[in-house]
Amino acid sequence: MSKSKGLTFKGGIHPSKDGKALSSSAAIQDAPLLKEYQLIIQQNIGAPPKLLVAKGDEVKKGQLIAEAGGFVSVPLHSPTSGKISKIDSIPGPMGIPVQAVVIAADGEDQWGELMESMDWKAAEPQAIKDRVRDAGVVGMGGAAFPTHVKLSPPPGKEIDCLILNGAECEPYLTADHRLMMEYPEKVLEGAAILGKALGVTDVYIGVEVNKMDAIDTLLAKADDYGVKIVGLQVKYPQGAEKHLISAITKREVPTGGLPMDVGCVVQNVGSAAAVADAVVEGKPLIDRITTVTGEPVKNPSNWRLKLGTPVIEAIKFAGGVVCEPGKVILGGPMMGFAQKSLLVTVTKNTSGILLMKKDEITQYQSVACIRCGRCVDACPMNLQPGSLSAAIESEKFDLAAKNNIMDCVECGSCAYVCPSNRPLVQHFRRAKAEIRKITKK
């Protein structure tokens, strides 16, 4: 591996304040058991899972609560043992109310029947894929795309490279960092299992070089699993899958294409660890490592939170707040979602709970574009954010589509560098939604 600066892609930014030091040395802690968990039913992209339980049912930890509602869908399992007190609508992480199963915990946290442990080295790839689906594993970096779907390329698509994303390029988040530090075997074994399922020998884990301790930990054991560790330059959005592929393999995913078009599959390190749990131990995905951080938090730290843990409780685990926060974000500061309610609960893709101080939140006034071109330099997708936003402001969505707005990954690099404070990503999100609506018609 290249030790000095690391591999990278064209464009991107480096936020001046990355906030990682707040929580990067805090070891992962198991969250205390709560009295109640509100498990959001749809935690994956794709078809919503089909509910199998009803009010009043007794459930065990790890018991199936909902089964996959289609191919692009995964089942959901109970995070603890207890009784289903109700099925209700709760505030969702996207601001829209969502259906959730409310589980009153019995305090015993007793496992139900686990799936059988698999000898993955001897197993058929299909058996591994089925297990990954049955355990409800999704992309835990943020998108929550069902992992087994990415493992099943359509016929004709040759996959020769698997990349695990340990870049964790979002400022403040340290969950993946701590995972690689504390459970390197799990991550590496997960990587090897995923490699086996895909039938590839080139397995990489890309880690930004600001996590040298994690790189060293992984390197010490990587050879045993046949995994290569790659140092990546510290730059946002290094962890976006297309940019990871570009940095490591120098291949470019075509516009409108998927990583599998260039023979690559990208998975998050958290998902790899969940795959290892599912295959080796037979445990479904019922908890995840989440960073609770930000300056208002008393003890910024990393927690193993059960799915369905309300955000307010997670903040309490971290000692509560020392000053009044101005904003609560699920995910990182660049791509995360600001929340309206603290009753939102942790889902499979909650990588962080970030609190910002009141004076860190600027109520900006956006002014006209001065054509400085900084957004063009920053855009990792080689788009022209300035002129795109002008087209969108005058509702010329066809022009935006012609200029490849659909390639935008909504990373926010353009808005970050814009001296006119233009709400570029918001415009792009709207245009993408409108264009999808038009093409659907």
Partner: protein, 280 residues
Amino acid sequence: MEVFIAAVIAMAVIGILLGAVIGIAAKLFKVEVDPRIDLVTELLPGANCGGCGKAGCADFARSVISGENPPSKCPVASQEQVSAIAKALGIEVGDAVKKVAVVFCGGDHNQEKVQVLYNGVNDCVSASLIAGGPKGCSYGCLGMGSCARACPFNAIEIVNGLAVVHPDLCVGCGACVDTCPRDLIKLVPQDAKVHIYCSSPEKGAAKMKVCSVPCIACRKCVKAGEEGQFTVDGFSVSVNYDAEKLVDTSIFENVKCPTGCLLSEAEHLKIEKAQTSEVA
């Protein structure tokens, strides 16, 4: 001098030749245009709003002449204009019901709690993509005026953070209906004067937390009204605009809506006006 004369003659000859070509082409390739299209287009309001479903007034005129649409399908034309067209063409007027748009939400800034500070694009679609917008209710009017900007007749006004349709200006073209990301705007018969200004499917208690004028599905109006005048759907009640006898203001003699979401059109406008003057 000779050069000058030669040039003039050459130009004249070319001119006459080209003129002849155009003249012949005009006779040879003449396109017959139905003169009635111009006539009907002339009689139409000329708003080119697309409310009839056609690409502008001339296109609609064509469809009227071909018999595809009755003249009354034009939502903008007045009764006189429609009968003038029918008379000119010697056809039936047709009996399309006049419709107006209604924004089914009563939650302005006084009634509905703003939960978060919103600092972004002043457009409902964009706002709804960020955490579902700044208002407490995830189903209510965002009040950023996407519908008002889409209205070709300036019939929608944003009053204190709520879009209100002025029924006397609205012609029912439906241009606003698609712009609302919350699907709050519907076209209803012009004769319907009583509406339930709430579209939230949430439970009553959840609605009360974020708004003071929600429909809590108490069904008092359903019991007071005649059968079929209201539709109950889960935790919300709406006026059935297909009912044989539409709800009219006489219902208020029998029932008082506990939250005040069942309102006559006039009352709805009055309240909004009063609040604006208060704020101003």
